[in-house]
Symmetry: C2
């Protein structure tokens, strides 16, 4: 776990903008499990954050100054991965610095579009090869990605069983349309999963790794697909985490285990995003946010992801939305 001793809040003047740059007053930071992994050295898809740099992470704020011709003051902007800071300077030409109109639904953008959308959509549809009628199991189902995955699977015509960490979360997952949601702390998962789907699950959408992945490997249907998007139960273990010892069931079940890496779908993100906005308009994509306030609460809010405290998207609000300006 990251602790408050590992990070320091420092004050520094905001430097002058150069041509093409924009200054963003960050309003919300989104807490993603990947944030923790970026702090580890090793072979990730982005280099590790260096000592002295802001903790890397996504967020959204208002453009309060701009030296870029196409990005105007008052727009919303993620600024790439600005990290944990109140003001961020970004290169307006960077392909990952996406500005949005001043009236954009930024919370939907952060909670659903930013990362869960593509992960859930391509993870289920492409890697999971989801077909209408499939039986899908989603772990961490009340979490940010899990709750979008549950609704995506349902919207694509599958039936869903969820696993979550409290009765309250389970109730929400069932409200979203899951046939059942099991409490991983109190339910006998092995028995209940077998009872709910005697023939096993066609897709297991895995966000947690560890014992639940192992259990799901035992409960795969013939031809089943395990979509690995992360291993939230394992990121903080240090050293080499245990692997899924039931992986040999992939043989008996003629099954596969596929890793979801967003980079592979960058050119198709629009497809996922458009679908999510469409589902939102049809009231078929809901979200919750778990909001904390102030930079000093970032560490706790991030850690909540790994202890299962959050329902919906964990975020930190840094200031009130200053509105569309002028400032």
């Amino acid at each position: 776990m990251l602790t408050n001793q590992d990070v320091e809040i420092v004050q520094a003047p905001v430097r002058e903008l150069e041509d093409g740059e924009i200054l963003i007053k960050m309003v919300w930071l989104q807490m993603d499990a990947a944030v923790r992994s970026w702090l580890d050295e090793g072979e990730g898809y982005l280099p590790a954050v260096k000592i002295g740099e802001p903790v890397r992470g996504g967020g959204m704020g208002r453009v309060i100054a701009s030296k870029h011709p196409d990005v105007t003051v008052g727009m919303w902007c993620g600024g790439g991965l600005p990290g944990w800071q109140e003001y961020a300077i970004a290169d307006g030409d960077s392909p990952i610095v996406n500005p949005y109109p001043p009236d954009w639904d930024v919370l939907f953008q952060l909670a659903v579009i930013s990362s869960p959308a593509a992960t859930a959509y391509f993870g289920l549809k492409e890697l999971g090869e989801l077909q209408p009628g499939d039986s899908v199991l989603v772990s961490a189902a009340a979490g940010s990605t899990g709750s979008v995955a549950v609704q995506t699977a349902l919207n694509l015509g599958a039936s869903v069983v969820g696993i979550a960490g409290s009765d309250e979360k389970c109730r929400w997952v069932e409200e979203l349309g899951a046939q059942a949601c099991l409490n991983r702390r109190t339910d006998d998962l092995a028995a209940r999963l077998k009872e709910l789907r005697p023939k096993g699950f066609d897709i297991y959408f895995d966000n947690v790794g560890g014992p639940i992945l192992d259990l799901a490997l035992r409960r795969l249907a013939i031809g089943g697909r395990v979509v690995i998007i992360g291993a939230i139960s394992m990121y903080n273990q240090g050293g080499r985490p245990p692997g899924p010892s039931n992986y040999l069931n992939l043989i008996n079940r003629q099954a596969k285990m596929v890793g979801y890496q967003g980079m592979a779908y960058v050119s198709r993100y629009d497809e996922a995003w458009n679908q999510m906005w469409e589902w939102k308009a049809e009231n078929k994509m809901r979200y919750r946010t778990e909001m904390a306030h102030g930079l000093e609460n970032c560490v706790d809010q991030l850690n909540m992801l790994f202890t299962g405290g959050n329902t919906g998207k964990a975020m930190v609000q840094l200031c009130e939305d200053p509105g569309p300006g002028p400032y």
Copy 2:
């Protein structure tokens, strides 16, 4: 490991044949890793062998008596999975009792066709999605399945690196056409694999599990495929074996891990078999046998698979071929 205390050699009279049955004098038994797994209780693709039954396994012998109209004395016959016995009675109508003409190349049949052919062919071509130019890593490369996989990959246009358990085996794998074969007991596998394929392997054909699987997961190319056909290093460990702790690399490498289960390809076996006979005719499919003699050596010969003693197909010869008869 199976021991000679776990089995007993018993003598019993051969019963009379009923209509439709055939009597086979077994000449060769083939030793497959699956034989060991069939002795465990649990969720396999065939029920566990019961106390009192012959150890289940494949083999080939001469039909010395027949009450089936289409199976004539002198033919070769596998008899399904007759198990470890000198005489086997089989139902001539059973779809898995395949009789062959008296002049059939039975050793090629046992060493290449029986199980390695389909496993190597469909494992590489279908699950591995092998394309000409792909870089393939094969473990247990001097073994029965491994050596067929090495040649199959080469014949399909891939380049191959092997891993085997002795310098002598490595030499043979290189004779088969592998660019290199590493000795898992003496080579620094991690360093050598990185050196040989800096961009990683497109396919890892995994017959062993354990630390080599974990290493291969680290050395996958982007988009790589791990084809799991077994875990010979783990079958004898008892209890739950460790899983591949590097499975999360499936995410970074946009990779997948797929279980090969022969049952899924039964209807297409002919395609693999025809291809193997064709390659044999072109001298592009070679094999070796590791032969022991007599029922009393079956246990040791089977165990050799797990300690890496064999080069090529491990077999036990029960008698001299009595020839095509009449008897």
